[in-house]
Amino acid sequence: MLEIKDLHVEVEGEGIEILKGVNLTINKGEIHAIMGPNGSGKSTLAKVVAGHPEYEVTKGDIIYNGESILELDPDERSHAGLFLAFQYPVEVPGVTNNTLLRESYNTIAASRGREELDPLEFDDYIREKLDLVEMNPDFLERSVNTGFSGGEKKRNEIFQMAVLEPALALLDETDSGLDIDALRIVADGINKLHHEDNSVVLITHYQRLLNYIVPDHVHVMIGGKVVKSGGKELALELEEKGYDWLESLATVNGEAK
């Protein structure tokens, strides 16, 4: 479903390389966890896959459903089924959640030749999804992320994912800043949304999220590279040992991280 090949990325115009040859393959139906210390390039990787204009791919490729998506705009990638749950969801004052989601849903539906929903049909549809993240319907009429608590913003991301039903969801530190109850709600939501035809990539610092969502594969990123991959037990090992023991792997090729 997603194949990242030797991906090198710089911040546009600054010439600083952040990703230094990432390789990653994600198949349909799989859950992957990407872990690693601060500044290892995890969030950058997620943003680059989603097409953030701040980054420039200098080498390598991102193949999605068999085709390179490097030339696609962020909205085109979204239409193709890619979803990014933001680490820092953006506030859009004056635009209600309901408005944004209806516009998103219908834009994506139109691009895929599916039927658009009128406001009433959409209202029925969206209310079912609220339950997934245990949110109050009032929430629909609030401005997108405006004045939301950290936890509400994260839940909102998962709620959006529920509404848009992406084929591949990249969840960028969706667990950070959540208390234990909110973490359980978010994790339950993700589990319910995951099925054999879609894939989920969890980017996280902490093993605790993986107590709720069991990944098929765990990858460790350090210094702009995936330095180790393994099964769910790798996360436990990291919890125990920290990242230090893997640091040497990042410099194995003589490159500083």
Binding site: G51, P53, P74, F83, V92, G94, V95, T99, T107, S143
Partner: protein, 480 residues
Amino acid sequence: MSETKALETMIGEEYKYGFTTDVEYEDFPKGINEDVVRLISEKKDEPEWMTEFRLKAYRRWVEMEEPSWFNATYTKPKFDKLQYYSAPKNKPKLNSLDEVDPNIRETYEKLGIPLEEQKMLAGVAVDAVFDSVSIFTTFKEKLAEAGVIFCSISEAIQEHPELVKKYMGSVVPANDNFYAALNSAVFSDGSFCYVPKDTICPMELSTYFRINNMNSGQFERTLIIAEENSHVSYLEGCTAPMYDENQLHAAVVELVAMDNAEIKYSTIQNWYSGDEDGKGGIFNFVTKRGACRGDNSKISWTQLETGSAVTLKYPSVILQGDNSVGEFYSVAVTNKRQQADTGTKMIHLGKNTKSTIISKGISAGKSDNSYRGEVKISKKADNARNYSQCDSMLIGQTCGAHTFPYIESANPTGKIEHEATTSRVGEDQIFYLQQRGLSEDDAISLIVNGFCKEVLKELPMEFAVEANKLLGIKLEGSVG
């Protein structure tokens, strides 16, 4: 910047109203002097008192200096080169629509303002002003049944001189300011509306202003009077062809609200704004003021200012009556080289008077957008309250936004609140919305729409449609 480009395609998209209509004009000398003023009055067959009003204003104007205190720079109009009266030759003293010059009729069709009543939006009466002359007023008879007078100001001077004499210049005196004085001397036409006591005006009233002639200024004059317990909503729309030369538009609008009366005045201003380099476009220098003369009266200004090369405009309310209410809701969008210095004045004179100011400025391109507002609470205005909120939004790196609030209170019981914010439409905001499937244009549109929401919802529904088209904004939710 890519977001700037997107905005340009959105707001600055090719000006659709820039065409010229081929019309034969009456000959009229250029420049201004007492003879010209007299000639205008003569052309319009005006009574002596009106001619005197004009001459007095002209004499004051000659002594006045053109103001320069605002935040805009431009080449001052050449007053001796302007044509102060411009009327199509087919003298439109009309009884039926058939007599309107077909070219002019077609112009309004092209602008989406058909003058045939059956084709019009239900519930909106239109006075169409072409250059200096009112061309046609629709639904006059239906309004007359309700007792509402809606006609051109020229006609009102002939048919209702006692009303015009009583109220014209009573809110904006002829010597109020440079451009108001000029207007008082040479005003050509405009709309007049009188709503009698205990009357709710049965439909929206609207004037559509069109400047066509290249060398003419447009000086229209609008007067709206709402007697006790009456209510009227009035809409105003403006467009002009694209010329390389600047054209002057100096209007005066006066509103009078008596006890318990309410006037709602909405504007969508889309004069030609000039090209990328700031060449051409309208100078929009207008004086708009309402007087809440009666107790419990209310005057509400809503404006969506998107056009003009330079805009200087401060629709104001004088809150004389006790418990009277003044409101100002504004969205001003500037792009390219446009300059807008706009805002309001709320003058609290009566007790328990209340005013609200919500101003949203959006700047893009190389434009400059200023909010200038004054709130004044006089000594006798016990318990007066004002709430002001001025928000600016910047798109791109080359535009400017400024806020100049002036606050003056002579009464210790007065309460004035002022809030101001400045934000920038950021790459992250656009990326977020694009990630959710929206195109870059739609993303900006949605952000701008959200930003202006509090103001847009004040527009009457018939205008909301036009506002929507104009801003390229998809209005949220289902209207109605």
